[in-house]
Amino acid sequence: MTNTLTMDKPDVRNRLDAMAQGIIGAPLDRPEGPLKVVGTATYASEWQLPDMAYGVFARATVPAGKVASIDREAVLAMPGVLAIHDDPRMLVNPAQGGAGKKPLQDIREIHYFGQTVALVVAETFEQATAAAKALKVEYAAPDDASVFDPESSAATVEHGPDTQRVQTGDLDKAMADAAFSVDVTYTTAGHASAAMEPHASIASWQGDQLTLRGSLQMLNYNVAELADSLAVGQSQVRILSPYVGGGFGSKLGVGEDSVAAAIASRELGRPVRVDMSRQQVFETVMRRSETRQRLRLAARADGVLTGIGHECLVSNLPGEQYAEPVTQATEFLYGGENRMLSVDVARIVRLCAGSVRAPGEAVGMQALESAMDELAEKVGIDPVELRKRNIPAIDPSQGTPYSSNTLAKCLDAGAARFGWDQRQTQTCATREGEWWIGMGVASAARVHKLVEASARVTLASDGTVKVETDMTDIGTGTYAVLGQIAGEMLGTPIEKVSVCLGDSALPAGPGSGGSWGAASSGSAVFLACEQIRQALAKKFQGDEEALSLKDGIARLGEASAMVVDLVAGKPIVGEGTIKPGETSKATRQASYGAFFAEVAVNAYTGETRVRRMTGAFGIGRVLNEKTATSQCYGGMTWSIGSALTEELAFDLRDGHLVNHDLAEYHVPVNLDVPALEVVFVEERDPHASPIQAKGVGELGICGGAGAIANAIYNACGVRVRDFPMTLDKIIGGLPD
């Protein structure tokens, strides 16, 4: 019997804090660390299967139309070439995160420039690469002209999902009556996840059973997507992803490589490995949409908001449901009774838009937080104070209470650590050599979501503990934190706990996405352990709540025993399932934080360097201080990228991605990232999960670029409303 908990009411028992082992939250090393540093952790395309063939994709060199013909003979005659596949089941783009069903298929129809049009399979990688390059494809032109520019008047614009629309009160009137107001338009460039491991798959069939070694974030959904794409039963598909070289949203859904490898392998009767090149990953795997955001803020004389407008335009391919949820945090972050939030979608021909780390808040928050800075200056109050004055008592869009809200605490803690009192109120007040120096602040916010998850925990007769789930670790620290939860609950030293992940045959979890992994899968592990604790307590004829477990010794009241003796040769298996329930409707659940940045802007070139950055974050319970801090470093670094360098550049004549590699799409390098400081404002959120933890992986990017924008303004008086803030956008406004 599975120990199932539906979060219909807050779990105020706070069980983890009552445990004795003392490892929850501790900054322990990742258990899989040694394998990663010696290179034996095995990523998707690194499995050595006998008789493996190699597949390489050929790409479309037109943005629309149909494949008229493929010159197969010439390429099939090349050395080592085994097959050319353009099976109608092959994918046009990956499945969206959590889809659980096949995405758009049939690559003989061209939907965007760079789309895959065929898979060439050969004996070696070199032969397949040469053959894919040599493949001649003729295209039939489309009937209609394509639109490539979301700002073009020819683009069809549709309303985004109704769930993203908020309209209350009368914003126009609030703006007209406001003592101070801001009405500005910000734009943000498109982004790529650019995980360091390119997408890759190895497919092998044993009869009707497919084993796919892939680089995927959400195996539970991916099995369904792969099976649906191939038109086989889900029970025929097993996916292994024990190590994933970064995901950031790009590996949420099954992609072109997985389906193509499976089809090719089936036909050849040999394992087939498909590695996508870096350029193909850029060109065919999910971009974050560029955005245009009109922000309207209406305030009383004291800065308290009476109205807030956030109206956005994003883009996607025709027919794709996904719309970057730009206003997601604007819904609940600040007050103001007159509200107008919306997201519209321009239908254009560019590669599919989907999830990239912190969809919505990553770009919405940086614009909102820049506009808040503009308002603070108009009102004439400190930007930290302006934010604190606008924290509502209840969620202004839904009218529900917050499960917890640490924004004020984070602003205070971050300001103290950073030394915010050193900031000059006037712009252009600090100059060091040829650099203008300035400081900026921004709030952070990201929705928290609990997702159904299951896990199995086994207490073996030798006292060791094994945790099993299909959950993935994409660098997020899952191996570490799930082991710590089990070790804490069962009083087991961490060396005696092992964690098995990334195998779809194990109990299903929600995967790594939306920052829900640790809280959801962690809760499932917690519940499984609770069941084992009950079994142990029963051996004392006592109550689970009174049972104390530490270092392999069990105590209950006056009685005590070695855990191995209680197990007595019969391993105890616990199974746990967590389900979201009423608490997610009854309360607004989110994680909060505050960013503080100091920048230097070159007085002659307009170049910006971030000199230091502090982030204070309220993420509920911290499960492992070390890995949680690393997650925050990652997010903060992404905000430096989105502030200063990251930008997908599309050719407006054919929609092709111009900067499709790591030389031209600029992710931050080591020298771009200064000393970063992370402060956790610890709390226990009983509504969020029975382990009182919330998400951490995405919060660090949600608003950080706004702090940098505000610091640039403070440094040199130039307000850039177009991200990334490259030097060309600053130099013209610099003081003489």
């Binding site: 090393d29 990742r30 899989e32 660390g33 040694p34 394998l35 990663k36 540093v37 010696v38 290179g39 034996t40 095995t42 990523y43 690194e46 070696t124 990688f125 070199e126 032969q127 690469t129 040469a130 996840s193 650019a194 995980a195 360091m196 491991e197 390119p198 190590y243 994933v244 070289g245 970064g246 995901g247 950031f248 590695d275 090149s277 870096r278 994409i474 660098g475 997020t476 620290g477 070390k626 890995t627 801090t629 690393s630 997650q631 470093y633 990652g634 903060m636 670094t637 992404w638 590699d661 790591l662 030389a663 992710v667 931050p668 390098v669 080591n670 020298l671 771009d672 990232v673 000393a675």
Partner: protein
């Protein structure tokens, strides 16, 4: 048909002359610790040490290294016998997904030697004297190794501790 001394062992390979050193290691030598992040010399994931110097193995054909000594991440330590730098990467959490990590460690191993030999970098103020391996020197010298997870602050800390 190149023969290379990989991690101290002479091995010869029967492979296509178009095979990069990186693909030779990953697809022919069974040494998948060396990673492919871009195949174009843009990310540093494929960094190995050849004849004592760090190079991007994706930018080099295997046949060009006939007779060369190649050290890969597998040659620096094992899970039960980590090199000091590998140990520091674990204790400082100088990785997340781990995919850039072997390249970072090979690169840093050779970089520490470069600094010891007095090689200057773009952020060295005085190129006449031996540079001290300050945090900024480490950052500059490691900027050819991208980490999208952005473990940079911890990578700097791990290298600083090991180089001291």
């Amino acid at each position: 048909m190149p023969a290379l001394v990989i991690n101290g062992t002479l091995r010869s390979f029967d492979c296509d002359e178009r095979t990069s050193l990186l693909d030779l290691l990953r697809n022919h030598a069974g040494l998948t610790g060396t990673k492919k992040g871009c195949d174009h010399g843009q990310c540093g994931a494929c960094t190995v040490i050849v004849e004592g110097r760090r190079i991007n193995s994706c930018l080099s054909l295997a046949v060009m290294h006939d007779g060369d000594e190649v050290t890969t991440i597998e040659g620096l330590g094992t899970a039960t016998d980590l090199s000091p730098l590998q140990r520091a990467f674990v204790s400082h959490d100088a990785y997340q997904c781990g995919y850039c990590t072997p390249g970072q460690i090979c690169s840093a191993t050779a970089m520490i030697e470069e600094a010891r030999m007095g090689w200057p970098s773009a952020v060295t103020d005085d190129v006449e004297t031996s540079p001290e391996l300050s945090d900024n020197e480490i950052r500059e010298r490691m900027s050819g190794n991208l980490c999208r997870c952005a473990a940079y602050p911890n990578i700097v800390a791990a290298i600083r501790e090991t180089a001291a």
